[in-house]
Subunit: 385 residues, 2 copies
Amino acid sequence: MASASASLSDERFGLDRRITLLGPLPLDCGAALAPVQIAYETYGTLNADKSNAILICHALTGDQYVASTHPITGKPGWWQRLVGEGKPVDPSRDFIICANVIGSCMGSSGPATVNPATGEPWGMDFPVLSIADMVRAQALLLDYLGIPVLSAVIGGSMGGMQAISWPVLYPDRVRAALVIASTARHSAQNIAFHEVGRQAIMADPRWRKGAYYADGDVPASGLAVARMAAHITYLSEAGLTEKFGRRLQDKSGKDCSGSSFGFDADFQIQSYLRHQGISFVDRFDANSYLYITRAMDYFDLAEPHDGVLAKAFMGTRTRFCLISFDTDWLYPTAESRRIVHALNAAGAEVSFVELSSPFGHDAFLLECPEMNRIVDGFLRAGANA
Amino acid sequence: MASASASLSDERFGLDRRITLLGPLPLDCGAALAPVQIAYETYGTLNADKSNAILICHALTGDQYVASTHPITGKPGWWQRLVGEGKPVDPSRDFIICANVIGSCMGSSGPATVNPATGEPWGMDFPVLSIADMVRAQALLLDYLGIPVLSAVIGGSMGGMQAISWPVLYPDRVRAALVIASTARHSAQNIAFHEVGRQAIMADPRWRKGAYYADGDVPASGLAVARMAAHITYLSEAGLTEKFGRRLQDKSGKDCSGSSFGFDADFQIQSYLRHQGISFVDRFDANSYLYITRAMDYFDLAEPHDGVLAKAFMGTRTRFCLISFDTDWLYPTAESRRIVHALNAAGAEVSFVELSSPFGHDAFLLECPEMNRIVDGFLRAGANA
């Protein structure tokens, strides 16, 4: 969708849209990453005064293909309901950037990319990352693209953690932040679910302390179990009941009335989860799952500010919009409200809406006209200011 | 605690309190189990008119040691807060029976016991069980003990599934049923969590389709992950936050202020979960975990009654008491209320209390004076009737 006549075009950046920056990028863990590879997609054209750039931040298992076909799965962009022609984030008006977070596995630096010191994949020698490190890498990309200030940063779930971190780390580089179904810190329960997933991966003998790249015999079983456990947290109890209830299925996947009294996937919810686990393995790296979940667990925006969240936002001139979903038990509304309270205490401009949805945390990725209207209204209000 | 002068004493049943009945016990899956081994504990003395027998039903990973020391862990009885001298269920007044459910691994017939057809452990050739099958095995034990009618049946969690099933399966054999932190059916979310646990076990290469008894090289990693995932559901989000929050610890397990930026158990919740997983492996059999979770998933008391729960209770003369906990998200109050509605529709005598606790599902096993008062009052009301 990028126009070839603009200064930023497909031609300039090549088709794979992957840059290698020299770095070093200083990381929160004390190490520095060099070089820094960033794979990204853009949609639309940067305008002359460079004022129309919107950064979209992806979630744990997301990627840069926010509004274009995923090269492995062939599925449409993961947020094409929000991003696209005629949508609230529109490439005919906005210059849209979405970058694979560092630590991930779709082209940006991560455990599967090459450690220049050894010429081999990093594996578990890749430095431990934080959400702030991911944001700093995005800022490097914006430098490279010549974008001084973002019109807006938008993210859901882990993308929301990045979006809320942007104005804290770069107060002068972002005019508006949209934080959806997210949180300013990971709770004990959030950490617990991630720990189960990591233990499942590390318990898989094929994990081999992360050194499985040479023969490609990946810890698929462990990663699938991790994905299954996580997937439960993405859905609401009511949504699960509505979608699956206690319905049984026969071996072909159809509804049926009799249970097998065995360990096959009698219940539809079982085969759904198994499918989620197995299909995930084809598109995601187990080590990346370890690194990104760990970064999320470390996330606590208040921590570097004496534990007072409001201090993180003091003096901010960014406009904020927070959206939560009433059935989201992963990052419940109370967490968004906590952010709103802190923003209010810091004197920030903030709007907040809790939307009703039966679909739990996943709601932000699904058809939600109300969410689209709010995002559109919030972005347009900024354009008119 | 059993008196040697009574007709039912330690002397009569031997110290290990394990009986082998000829059977066959017809099972819901269509198979029949023979012989039927039942390991159990009793406390107190059966009175002359055999009217003081109380059956306690244990939960998924529980056992018969309700009020006496566990032979493997050395820990005190799992419900000694409720059962014991001066407690609501008192061996100086009641004859208390607790039997290891069939399918389990503390002496009753299960995948680790010997298949008479082969002389080897059953493994996955053990027939798939239901909650009703467990109850029918308990009825066999009562026959053997010469107890025609139970004064009461009491159970929490999966024990509550048995307790609520007792009056349905044996309407003339139980005067009162106490159902705590339980449900009349497993929800899609309940099934989903169990499925993750089973997949973790079956993904462990040491599981070997359940045939790991010969060399004792058990699927410990998979079982530990299963336990960790389940354990999250036993605790409330608020309880986890209160107990662990985002607190870090050093390698010795003490509180500390700095994170390691690694994959060690930085957070206290991580090491707690890992400990839960590892210690569970010492006392529980992975195949038993598969069979018992499956029995729970199949549990739907309304299903054999055209899906109408009230029909299950029609004509009942049993008195019921239901207790739920407000932070229990595994079997939330709504599930208890559903049972109460059905009992009301069936004209049954039922009382119901939702208790407040920060501890989620686990609350029924913890110190809870209010629960004790309710149990005591309910049992005494029956004695006075």
